[in-house]
């Protein structure tokens, strides 16, 4: 029998079916469509905008900024949070639909940063008000560090969607607090 006479797979409508676990398919969809809520209050917000710009382009990861918490899966807290602002963060977090994820970007959102010693008004870490999944150190961290944190978060989203495991211990991006003008993959200049 000639090869041309064999039935071509896929031409039959009954063969155009892929069998897979629907959880993995949904997880694939969720981890590739992490819409994030813009919450930029300080200079980390500039790096966040840069990450959304054409050079770093987090759109390719399916990350699209949303202006409302109702449409967001992920809140990126980028910048200094004062005591007065902390209630707003909490309200926005409560308005997000489950499952909701929080990335704390930069020293100020992590721990108060340079303000923790002398300021009376700055909250010493957004984790006092909302649970944080990923911490990104740096003042401000580079967009690569943000993308690194998001990749770790995507891993968590997949684990949650497929296995139902919600990691409670936060992930800390390593090597994000690198020197100015460098990034974790770049070798240090020789003295």
């Amino acid at each position: 029998m000639a090869v041309a006479d064999l039935p071509k797979p896929g031409n039959d409508p009954h063969e155009q079916i892929v069998l897979t676990a629907v959880d993995e398919f949904l997880a694939w969809g969720k981890e590739n469509s992490l819409f994030y809520l813009l919450f930029a209050t300080a200079c980390c917000g500039i790096e966040l905008m840069q990450a959304g710009g054409p050079r770093y382009d987090v759109d390719r990861l399916g990350m699209i900024p949303r202006a409302t918490p109702r449409q967001a899966d992920l809140m990126i807290v980028a910048g200094t949070i004062t005591h007065k602002m902390a209630g707003v963060v909490r309200t926005l977090w409560e308005q997000m639909t489950e499952p909701r994820w929080v990335v704390s970007m930069g020293s100020c959102a992590n721990s108060g940063g340079p303000f923790s010693k002398w300021s009376y008004s700055v909250l010493n870490g957004v984790d006092k008000y909302v649970p944080v999944d990923v911490y990104i150190p740096g003042c401000p961290p580079r967009p690569e560090a943000l993308i690194d944190g998001v990749m770790a978060l995507r891993e968590r989203v997949r684990r949650y969607r497929t296995m139902g495991v919600r990691d409670r211990d936060p992930h800390v991006v390593q090597g994000a607090d690198c020197r100015f003008g460098s990034h974790p993959g770049k070798p240090e200049p020789q003295a």
């Binding site: 005591h83 007065k84 902390a86 721990s111 108060g112 923790s116 010693k117 002398w118 009376y120 008004s121 909250l123 010493n124 870490g125 006092k128 008000y129």
Partner: protein
Amino acid sequence: MNGMTFEAIAARIAQVCDEAMVVRSENGQPFVRVPAAALPRVAALLRRDPALLCDALMDLTGYDRLKYPGNEASPANDAIAVVYLLFSQQHHHRVMLEVQAPRALCSVPTVSGLWPAALYFEREVFDLLGVQFVGHPSLERILCPDDWVGHPLRKDYLYPAQYHGVPHLREGQHFDGAPRRQGDPEPTPTPAPTKKGHP
């Protein structure tokens, strides 16, 4: 087109306020210091007099004279000062006014009837320095939360130890030389340096 000189403006203010005093700041900037009771008529003069016509309140701010540099000679002077920076868009001249109010009963008449821009400025000075502006329509805090205790830009302000149950330092966090907070023990006086160790 240049307006009046500072000396001419100061002389014009002195006509309506005998206690007006010309003071020169450290960097040579002259300003007029008037008592708080005379502020309404001095401000009205500056705002409405056709020769002065200071129609723009460029800034209204304040400072605490406690521990103020150059204030050591008069340790009793711990007043709160309110500073008005005025500009005439027609005559192109500027004038700086200062009003001092005692620390305990800190009240100054409002100028928001003459310059609506003072509405927010006075709220800020009230928030951070605790100056009561008599006659202000809604003197509320503008920067700090409404239930904040104290006025942070006063030199004797004690940082709160916590706000809404959130302590100001993280667990195990300690800073040498950090500002004293409410509830902290009195600082121990630094021992006088000895000559030991410096042969």
